[in-house]
Amino acid sequence: MPTEREFQVAPIVPESVMHNTKALSNLQSLTASIFGVAAGILGLESYSGFLFYFIFTILTTILFYTFRVAPTSLKSGLGAFDTSRYFRTQYEFWAGGVFGGLAGYILTWTLFYGLVRA
């Protein structure tokens, strides 16, 4: 854990962290709605639908990590799956989007399930 002194030597700009977080949450909410469309068309019900959502959201986050975060963050000496170069906490990066996009997912899932199947 870096001390206050280290933060002052290498300050973190809150605006940039905000921008990163916002970009991630935008991506999550948009992809979540698209996964909802997919799940509805496939006719997934109850557990398999939620499982579909969680698997694909985590897959999206992993892809985001490999393409946008990993190239520069690995080069700067951080370990694999360490996002502290661009995001405040690990939890925010890996789990924040799962709950942010759930409402949109359920909306489109219900809509397309209702239109296609039921």
Binding site: R5, V9, S33, G101, G104, L107, T110, Y113, G114
Partner: protein
């Protein structure tokens, strides 16, 4: 336990065009309207009298010096601290120096306080009025229709909420009426507004009121006490600079490359 066959209900495909589609479109358009109403109704920052502005800015100056002392050299920080502490303690920046030590005025009688409350009222109205209107619109025109089936099972307790206006005892609670589609839209349309309006929009109803300005200079706060506290905060800082030992850090950085 015997497995019950899933209920099937023959629904008119026209339900989609006359109920589902209009509700969704109205919800989206209301979100857009709400966003632009909030943008248009945002009152421009009120002009502040010169002494009041001086009071605010000098206090912020103090805070800035306190939180960024590490980029100043020791003598220049000491000079700033000396100057600000004396000014703060003598009350040189106060809005009305003769009212020092008196209790603050009642916030309800201060005309400046009313503006903040009006802004909050306007925001709340922009949330409340469309929601009430749409709810009553749906209840008048679309109550009693079963339009969609949820893809996941839920308990019987949701039945009264989801099937409001559909008085059928035996129906599976997964079937939802038009009012529950309204609730789904209410919570789930954030991604549509992200598409249409950009990410920091006011379209979604549950997005909160956005970042609130810090109420540091609000009515009812004793500026003199704030100044005294700030002077104390400045006085106890133990100064160091980020440039201390910078040559060692540089050499270490070079060595590890």
């Amino acid at each position: 336990m015997a497995q019950l066959p899933p209920q099937t209900i023959q629904r008119d495909p026209q339900l989609f065009y006359w109920i589902l589609f209009p509700i969704t479109v109205v919800m989206i358009l209301t979100g857009i309207l709400r966003h632009y109403a909030t943008v248009l109704m945002a009152s421009p920052p009120k002009k502040v009298e010169q002494p009041a502005l001086k009071e605010q800015r000098s206090l912020m100056h103090g805070v800035a010096v306190r939180s960024n002392f590490h980029v100043l050299t020791a003598p220049s920080f000491k000079a700033r601290r000396e100057f600000l502490t004396t000014a703060f303690e003598s009350g040189a920046y106060l809005k009305d120096p003769e009212r020092r030590g008196q209790p603050p005025a009642n916030p309800m009688t201060d005309p400046g306080a009313m503006d903040g409350m009006m802004g909050m009222m306007k925001n709340n109205m922009a949330m409340m009025v469309p929601n009430t209107l749409i709810m009553s619109w749906i209840n008048t025109f679309f109550s009693g229709f079963v339009i969609l089936k949820l893809p996941f099972p839920i308990t019987i307790k949701f039945k009264s909420m989801l099937q409001a206006g559909v008085a059928t005892k035996e129906m599976d609670p997964r079937w939802m009426s038009s009012i529950s589609w309204y609730f789904l839209c209410y919570f789930g349309l954030q991604f549509v507004f992200n598409f249409l309006l950009g990410s920091d929009n006011d379209g979604a109803a549950d997005a909160g009121n956005g970042p609130q300005a810090p109420n540091m200079f609000g009515p009812g706060v004793d500026a003199d006490k704030q100044f005294q506290a700030e002077a104390e905060n400045l006085a106890v800082i133990k100064h160091y600079s980020v440039l201390d030992d910078v040559e060692q850090r540089l050499l270490e950085g070079i060595k590890t490359r």
